[in-house]
Amino acid sequence: MTKQSIIFSPVTRLSGLLSVEAIIENGRVAEANASGTMFRGYEWIMRDRLVTDAVYLTQRVCGICSLAHGAAASYLLDEIYDSELTENAQYLRNIMFAADFLQNHIRHFYLFSLPDFARMPDRPPYLGQNLTDARLGFSDNERLVGHYFEAVKAAQESHQLLALFGGKAPHQHSFVHGGVSVAPTADKISQALALIRSIGDFVKSRMVPDTELVARVYSDYYAIGVTPPRLLSFGLFKFGKMNENNLWRGGVVSDGRYTLPQAQLINEDITNSWYVSGQEKGEKGEDYLPDPYKPHAYTWIKSVNYTGLPYQVGPLARMIINGFYSGGTSTMDRIYARTLETLLLTELVLGWLNKIKPGPPPINQKKTPVKNEATATTDAMRGALLHSAKIQDEKVVRYNIITPTVWNFAPKDKNGNRGPVESALVGTGIPRSDMLFTILGRTIRSFDPCISCATHILDLKKNVEYEEVF
């Protein structure tokens, strides 16, 4: 019997700061604690500000998926101010949203994930790579590394497409409640078409075959990093005057059974998170207060569950729920589903650009709120995202955000249930000690970690009236 505790810190090539501590017993991971080690308290920041500040301010929660927060906040404001969206507004919104997905997925696969599978050049920032399980042949390796550098441009072009309509990126300006403030004109549409064709070529000729090659050469990762078969998505790409339709449906899949997600079945747990325990969240709706000294806690990320169980969110959940993919829930399934989604997105953007009719900025903002509270859901790049707000005289009384990271990187809850990442790590075989970081790094990154997104707290129950959100 050998038992050893190890620290994997920092886990690099991701957004934010993450550490993993694990127990290795007889060459297998027996336990794993994933720690998000940064906290900013974003919901507190939203308090007492005008709710119309939410679109620009909540984008600052996360730099790599900022538009997703802007979108969720815009949907929330659409409901509060009773917006009526035009077709052009929805096409433009979805084009920008998809463009931000494209930059994220391309950057994740090449800049963050590829160095887990290919040997990088021997110069900064690739020194000390220590890839202890490199299996690609010389020419395949060189080709994929070449594509890493081509990916730099394809991802930049994705943000350029977004900025054509959005003003800048990250933290775009035009996708706000009531529509989009930029006019779709022939010049912009043709520039966007040129960009999406170039991005699409890259995805088809590089990213898809590269993913297939990695999946073939490292096919054992279809049996590594397997999570329980519980997947959740809030749906993606809204259409209709009132944002009432999702192009990609949301859903909850548990052991192959599909149901519609209901927000009132979402619960939170702070047993192992650095927040004050036993705190009463009374009438005033006090948010959880941070407690960095809390004994036994190990992360700033809270645990969130659906009907008491952890759920995995992200491209894999979306692809399976929408019937585009029928694989399992392993490390390689997550990587493959993300690339598949990237390919589908390039085709969607091309289609939407061809459907827009040139015209004035498709925006109509109403001035008077018709509701004092609302909940908006969508999927972000990494999975299900929820914003909810309670307001008084247009000022935020409470603002709550549940990000995808809170689902995937959830610590153990009070019943000892592991979140998706921790359950994916437990059971992983580590044949040699020098392979530890390589093997664990592949599985952790397959979730596309973003810890910036987790740097806040949430409190659903006491302050928002729930109805079914779909």
Partner: protein, 318 residues
């Protein structure tokens, strides 16, 4: 190339899409590298409390693109975002690099630094000996660094990470370290401002800084001064809603008191910027962003009134 010429190029060639600026600079950087005893700029990049938007903005650099920056301009020795090394291997590189390039490396800090509760709100790594907070890490690297560059508004002044009520006691690097900080603010930073600052450090050393420690060549004039819609302002012709073509002052534009060259530099391969997108500038490069800019869609004089109100209420309360 003389320094004056470089500054002139930065200011005059940034207004078109033909990348004359970067085309003009790249070969010069190359020439510089070819000279004996000169090398690429060694960089150690520490991410602290931020949203990661500044490293994404950096990835959006064009001419030079990111791969060209890595190949030709900087040796990015430590970066949580980009480095291939991981775990303790990454920390060993940090240690070695800070010794080997002592007083030569540029310390880039991305994000505000929480100081409350001994900085426990931001831990950059955990070792057998315990947690290394961002506060400890940058204080340890302070003396060894040749220059310190704060990338983005959080690192420069606190930014959104330090917005009220600032539970974590987050502060800009200038309030945590005792030496000069080159602040390259923006939420996020425009990649030209950051890569241009690195280019200046590489070729000419410390750039001229304004009173907020920012390179004058990027932040020297207000957005208002160079705004394409200045003529509307001068004729009191104001927008009534986002999407309008008139001056955005009526919608809360912060241009008149925001130093940045957005109107002529623009964003993401220089294609657009917030006012061109028919929305107000929200003053993201400012010392008091975001608290001084919210409510975003309320006019500047009214925002300040609200500030005064807040101050007087809080005085009454205390």
């Amino acid at each position: 190339m003389e320094k004056e010429e470089f500054v002139r190029l930065c200011q005059s060639l940034s207004c078109n899409n033909n990348h004359e600026l970067t085309r003009a600079i790249l070969p010069v950087v190359g020439e510089y590298l070819a000279l004996p005893n000169k090398s690429k700029l060694p960089v150690i990049w520490i991410e602290t409390n931020d949203s990661g938007d500044n490293n994404i903005a950096f990835m959006n650099t064009t001419y030079p693109y990111l791969d060209q920056v890595f190949a030709e301009m900087i040796d990015l020795l430590y970066s949580n975002t980009f480095m291939a090394a991981q775990g303790s291997d990454a920390l060993s590189i940090l240690e070695q690099a800070s010794l080997m390039y002592k007083s030569k490396f540029v310390l880039v800090v991305e994000g505000a630094v929480p100081v409350k509760d001994n900085g426990l709100y931001n831990i950059i790594a955990i070792t057998e000996k315990g947690a290394i907070t961002a506060l400890e890490a940058i204080r340890q690297l302070e003396a060894a660094a040749g220059h310190v560059v704060a990338i983005g508004t959080c690192a420069s002044f606190g930014g959104p990470s330090a917005a009220r009520p600032n539970l974590t006691g987050s502060a800009g690097v200038r309030d945590v370290l005792k030496r000069e900080i080159i602040n390259v603010s923006g939420c996020p930073v425009n990649p030209d401002w950051f890569v241009g600052t690195l280019a200046h450090l590489l070729m000419y050393g410390r750039p001229e800084l304004d009173s907020l420690g920012r390179p004058v060549l990027f932040y020297g004039f207000t957005v208002h001064r160079h705004c394409q819609r200045r003529s509307y302002f001068d004729r009191d012709d104001f927008a009534s809603k986002p999407g309008d073509i008139e001056c955005m002052f009526s919608l809360g534009c912060m241009g008149p008191r925001t130093g940045a060259d957005c109107p002529y530099r623009q964003w993401i391969n220089h294609v657009n910027w917030p006012v061109k997108a028919n929305t107000p500038c929200i003053g993201c490069t400012n010392e008091d962003f975001p608290d001084g800019s919210t409510p975003f869609f309320t006019t500047l004089p009214e925002k300040s009134e609200k500030d005064e109100e807040k101050k007087s209420t809080s005085l009454k309360e205390t």
